[in-house]
Assembly symmetry: C2
Homo-oligomer: 215 residues x 2
């Protein structure tokens, strides 16, 4: 059976869990924190990052590369469009989510959840204000200009764009942030649809258990 | 004809030039600095990054996504192996090159070329020493453990792993850095082979023109 190293509160690990659930592939989730220094983990994750996928003797790090590997090894219920241009667009949106969007969303997650509830550190309200006023708005404007009015983020099927974007916003949501429907109505409506999908609801129910342990 | 926005001294832009040359596709190179604020460029590069590929009405940023797009649109002389595991490995090596390796190599490029010769800023010898002593060694150790003794970096054909790794080391080389064959003999031998390939030599001859203008 496949092994997924990581913790699903990482937006990158969550993408892999979703992809496997979408494709109906069973797997073991092996709780591993980023930077884990065990030789076993470092042997399969040269940079110490999560997630890492292990498939028999083979292993590979990096959520985007894992998703692509799963697609070629397990092509049923695809996560990439056939059309080269649409495929490039969904990969670009995944990359956009995995970099700038994840970084901005992580501020809320860290300052409203991890630091005060796990690390006994006070919330940095300046960091929150900076994310709210400076980091997030241009990202929302761009996503609002791309997202479809109905259905998936783009295209006519679930894709890696949906996984990346929704996963980033889950972390923001854990930090009490939500997109304002009065300024970004299409994006807010998309996220409301995404959060109600069975794939997302099942995953979040599993994560709730872990979050409860933070008190 | 295709347009490639960027400057080839960027290791990411260089990857795209090489991929197009390898596939025998003609293109226009449109000199554009990262962060270029023209509305035309920002419309096709939401984060202001280079390279961006324009193919008719379609455009997409990010070198890795551009290479993947070129592969599906122009599949001849492939840059990705067919085997899912080997394909994931070359993509992982490309990612490793594009992140940690590029960052370490960039120190030499910036401190020995860009700052003293273009920006009239003194070389930060502490930054050079840190790169030399701390950043680079673990990266070389990892690459040494993976690279083949002969031929391409891995596998039996040129792949995106070769493009990413070689391109990163070109920037280090511009900054006077070279891999020590006494500590990392396989990697040093690989880079010597790669730098002698017609693809790399042709590209570097074009870049020489630009470098000469720095004096």
């Amino acid at each position: 059976m496949l092994n997924v190293y990581g913790v699903p509160l990482s937006p990158f690990v969550r993408k892999v869990h979703w992809a496997l659930a979408h494709k109906g592939i069973e797997y073991n989730a092996i709780p591993t924190m980023p930077g884990d220094s065990s030789p076993e983990f470092r042997a399969i994750s040269p940079l110490g990052k999560i997630p890492v996928l292990q498939d028999g003797d083979f292993s590979v790090p990096d959520s985007s590369i894992i998703l692509r590997y799963l697609e070629s090894k397990y092509p049923e219920t695809p996560l990439y469009p056939q059309d080269p241009e649409l495929a490039a667009q969904v990969c670009w949106l995944e990359e956009y989510a995995d970099t700038n969007l994840v970084q901005a969303c992580a501020v809320f997650f860290r300052e409203r959840l991890i630091n005060p509830k796990m690390m006994n550190k006070p919330t940095d309200e300046d960091a929150i204000a900076d994310a709210q006023n400076n980091l997030i708005p241009p990202l929302l404007d761009y996503l609002e200009s791309v997202v479809q009015e109905e259905g998936y983020f783009i295209g006519d099927a679930l894709s890696v764009a949906d996984l990346g974007i929704t996963s980033a916003f889950v972390n923001a949501q854990y930090g009490g942030y939500s997109v304002d429907a009065s300024t970004h109505p299409r994006l807010a409506a998309y996220l409301a649809r995404a959060m109600q999908s069975p794939l997302v609801k099942d995953q979040l129910a599993k994560e709730e258990q872990m979050l409860k342990s933070f008190g």
